[in-house]
Amino acid sequence: MKSLTMTMLLALACLFSTEAHAGWQDKLQNLMNPESKEGKILSGATQVVSSSQEMTYATERTVGQSLALESMQRFGKPVPNEALQKYVNLVGNAVARNSRRSTIPYQFVVLDSPVRNAFAAPGGMIFVSRGLLDVVENEAELAAVLAHEVGHVAEKHALKSIRRAQFLQGVGTISAATMKGSEGKKFESMIGDLQSTLFDKGLDQGMEYEADLAALETTYRTGYDPAAMITVLQKLKKLEASDSGKGSWFSTHPPLDERIARLSSRLEKYPDHVSLAKVPARFAKTVKTTKKQK
């Protein structure tokens, strides 16, 4: 027993001693060097990790834009109101630039659809429906919904979901010329897989919870009250019974009660959240006026 205690203490001491720590750091550094022994071991291990991690940003953007065309076919065109679109872009970019992936350009679009939904295409194009916007009551709530979608883009959730697509097993890049051939067919099929994942089946529940927590963190960092993510879900919960559900946040996301519970327990991390911005007046002025015009 004594020797066991000693072993444990020795292990602890090694872990905490600066010298040993430096050695451990060296090994970690080596992991990043593909030529090192550690790097080669890791390289083998990461090959089974999703190919999406190797997709270039340019290809990711092409995937996103192609998906954007399909989503407008399905849900309708953007609401023809430039002031509204600009406002949603300002709120969205405010949170996106404080997200874990802040250096890529983001575009936010309000689609003219009554289905209450929001989704993110790879590369940074984010869509929110007029139906979901109707439920939102202040700028912080809009920021939370958009930050949830930014979270999906940042973590490349959509691409990770379709990592078995044939296109990603091959070269994984596309040009206008290769789009015409067999690579193009694989590309089209992958866009089909993405539509089915994002619009019908939904992403993995774990990804949704991850995006919810990212929304809390990003809205908080930007200066919006992160509790807005919870209040918007509570509003959706009230509407759940009367909603047909098809294609909405209800059908493609985990149960609202569970999301609300997980978010509520994480809110403790932000004790000063109540003092942060909600900005109901500017939201009402821009979004509610638009509703009246319609």
Partner: protein, 167 residues
């Protein structure tokens, strides 16, 4: 025996502060190191996304930090994170390619300049094959042309009294 245990524990405790130095990474675009805890204070240095900082003091909304080249100043807590930002993959580099994070970010910027020119040739070809209506291609062009400048965003946050601009 007891002495050995105590010595080992002391060793562990002594080494702890070396590990305890809190690190933060810049996650937001346009972050500056400020001379004081205010958005209107003079900038000591510009901090690129991905820059590693050591926390000197502070909790709450402003942190006193030291940059890698030894400059000290204040940074708004919302602009940094306790985890590094996502690195972009440019060129043909994989996750463990030999590009540095900075060059990967630069690649993303170069790509973004390309993407904001409107529908890319690849997407135009995709639309052709799919028989996408011309009107939807125009809508996508309009979406891609909508840009938010840093100045517009600062004004927007200031007017809404959000984050660094809260009173």
């Amino acid at each position: 025996m007891k002495k050995t245990i105590v010595a080992l524990l002391l060793l562990a405790l002594a080494a702890a502060p070396a590990l305890g130095a809190e690190k933060r990474w810049v996650v937001s675009e346009g972050t500056a190191l400020k001379a004081e805890q205010s958005v209107t204070a003079a900038s000591v240095a510009e901090l690129p996304v991905g820059a590693e900082l050591t926390v000197v003091e502070g909790a709450g909304r402003w942190l006193k930090v030291r940059s890698a080249n030894g400059k000290e100043g204040w940074v708004y807590a919302g602009r940094v994170s306790d985890t590094a930002p996502v690195a972009e993959v440019g060129g043909g580099d994989g996750l463990f390619g030999d590009s540095t994070q900075k060059s990967q970010i630069n690649t993303a910027k170069a790509d973004s300049a390309r993407s904001i020119r409107g529908l890319s040739p690849e997407v135009a070809q995709y639309a052709k094959q799919r028989g996408t209506p011309e009107s939807l291609k125009k809508e996508l062009d309009k979406i891609l042309s909508r840009k938010v400048s840093d100045k517009e965003l600062r004004t927007f946050l200031k007017e809404g009294k959000i984050g660094e601009y809260a009173q």
